[in-house]
Symmetry: none
Subunit: 204 residues, 4 copies
DNA sequence: GATGAATGAGCTTTCATTCAT
DNA sequence: TATGAATGAAAGCTCATTCAT
């Protein structure tokens, strides 16, 4: 039953790992991926270049690990929010609100994978597609459920989900990049009206 | 009456200028901005590094000139398409179709400024906002006209335009990045239904 | 008897030649030789790079012509001043005053060949020796005359002339480089006392 | 009691630092500052460009560190020689001899800062003034002491020191640049006579 | 495990020089 | 004669990565 224990050393290793990713998030979000040197990350993580390379095979790997960790966190938050509802209609609505909300409350993570990732170069195109794809899947699943429940008419739910995600993405990205922004929440009602009505749901 | 003439030399200079931008488009679209060296552009333009630097003050300037030229072209095409209609309702519909269509028929330009520009680094964030802003303005103007004509109910047209653009952007970008894509046109009806219904228009 | 006439074209050529040297003096004195580009000279001379290369075979040649012209001018001024005296003792004194005076009233030329020339690189070492040598010869000649006239005791006049020139050079150079300098003339009495007494002359 | 120890690594770092400066001295003295590339220094130091840049922030910094080190060494030697005497008159005489001697026995260092530094460009003018100023101060201090002791009459000692330094500088520089020179020591008696007599001291 | 010195390929940019017009 | 577009050889500098300690 010692399954979940970790040795002292393992704990330290994992902590170092996390500390490096935290540092990488900081500097990459403020400078951009290309402009960030590995030594910047090392300094910010209070370690050395060699230390970074002990934990990660290279700069790309740090970035990939970082966006995976970030995407996972965002995804979990969104899924948790949706899971609180059971009725398909409300779940669909909740999904929309959850996305806007979660992105809005995690500005740096949002910027990381809505802005930095696509811009980090063609090497990461596939990753970008995957990341977006995950969220699109979440939306599509709710749309499918709503269709199955008869709440909305049949659609090409994959395409609709893509469009939803894109609409949210643009609004959120501009907000994330903008320097003097109003709260993102203000945009939710307008978006909600557009996207729900767009699939034929009545909007209160 | 010699107003519009150019000397032989001026013509050659302008041609070289264009040739460099054409070459830059080629290599930047296929490799990404950061991974593109000035010498790559020079080689592709069949000139030398020094030649490139004679025409442009630096790498950034090439990129900016390139995205300006590309954005202008796309914008003109879209505006021309919309201008063919006079009825506000049809213009709004036309705008949507025009965007999808123009982006779909200029894949490289689309990729350049929907994918490369945001990813070229924080230095270009402002430019990205501007570029997107231009197209959002176009959409917003048509939405405003439709509201004024009573075709659709009043909305926060700036936000709606942003969302429209984002929806189109995502669908188009995935298509632009995807390696084995179906024609983009197939996505239009679905998008059209979503976005027009979203603002309260009946969709045939 | 048409020996001294010049065709219109020759006049223009010579004027252009001079104009380029004037421009070169301007920019080299303010930026330094290495930091001066040929195109800087061309611009300052209100011509083109090709124009400059028509008149001079290369950048080095411009610099050499410039320091030759400058040195000649300074030398002529000094010689003229000395020539006004006939008594060997007064000539020696006049030489000293002339050097300080001429350098002091031609600050840019002075800087050019007391500061820029030695620093323009080993390529110009020989030239520097020559330039200094010319002035040292002038001094040595007057010293020799004074020795011959019995005004001063025999010395290694070449060495003394070198030292005189060096003393003047240092004082003048510091003055030429210094940003907020007193008039150079203030230094003359002190220098005069040192150098004349140094060769055994009584100083009033 | 471990105050003065250095770790093995620190020693190695300092040695590398010195090795780079040694190499820089070699190549700069033979080629001139501008004509020396960082990679030349790297090669001469048996390391790589990156290695050089690890120890110094840039080319200018190498040069500045080098002339500082060189000037310090020359200064120390001169001060040591003067310090061996106590009588003001003999100290003044010793200062003169020390300068000629030290410069004469460190030809490369002498060339570095009497010839290369002024010529390295306007960026280094201030440094040149400083370097010369240090030696001028040393001379001026001895002159002041001699004045205070009544050995010589009052003078503008700063100016006299400048002139002394200039005289020595010129003689030494010509010797340093000249390709087939006689020993510098031969020039000392002549200089000594000129400069000491110049301030009113009897010369044996 | 961690450090940081070292490597070296590669980048952007500059500029003396040439030459077709 | 004059122009300025073009060339191409450097140059200074950066940085991902390696590795002896």
């Amino acid at each position: 039953m010692m399954i979940e224990t970790e040795s002292r050393a393992q704990v330290r290793t994992r902590e170092r790992h996390e500390r490096i990713l935290d540092a990488a998030l900081d500097v990459i979000v403020s400078r951009g991926y290309q402009a960030t040197a590995v030594s910047d990350i090392a300094t910010a993580a209070d370690t050395s270049k060699g230390g970074v390379y002990f934990h990660f095979p290279g700069k790309d790997a740090i970035f990939l690990a970082l966006i995976d960790r970030s995407a996972r966190l965002l995804r979990e938050r969104v899924i948790a929010r949706i899971g609180a509802e059971t009725d398909p209609t409300r779940r669909l609505d909740a999904a929309l609100g959850a996305l806007v909300d979660v992105f809005g409350t995690h500005r740096r993570l949002t910027r990381l994978f809505l802005v930095e990732t696509p811009g980090a170069g063609p090497r990461f195109y596939t990753k970008t597609l995957e990341l977006h794809g995950d969220f699109i899947e979440i939306i599509a699943a709710e749309l499918d459920a709503a269709v199955a429940a008869g709440t909305i008419a049949p659609h090409d739910t994959r395409l609709i989900a893509q469009a939803w995600f894109g609409a949210i993405n643009e609004v959120v990205s501009q907000w994330a990049v903008d320097t003097s922004p109003h709260p993102l929440g203000e945009s939710l009602p307008g978006l909600r009206g557009l996207l729900l009505r767009g699939v034929g749901m009545a909007v209160s």
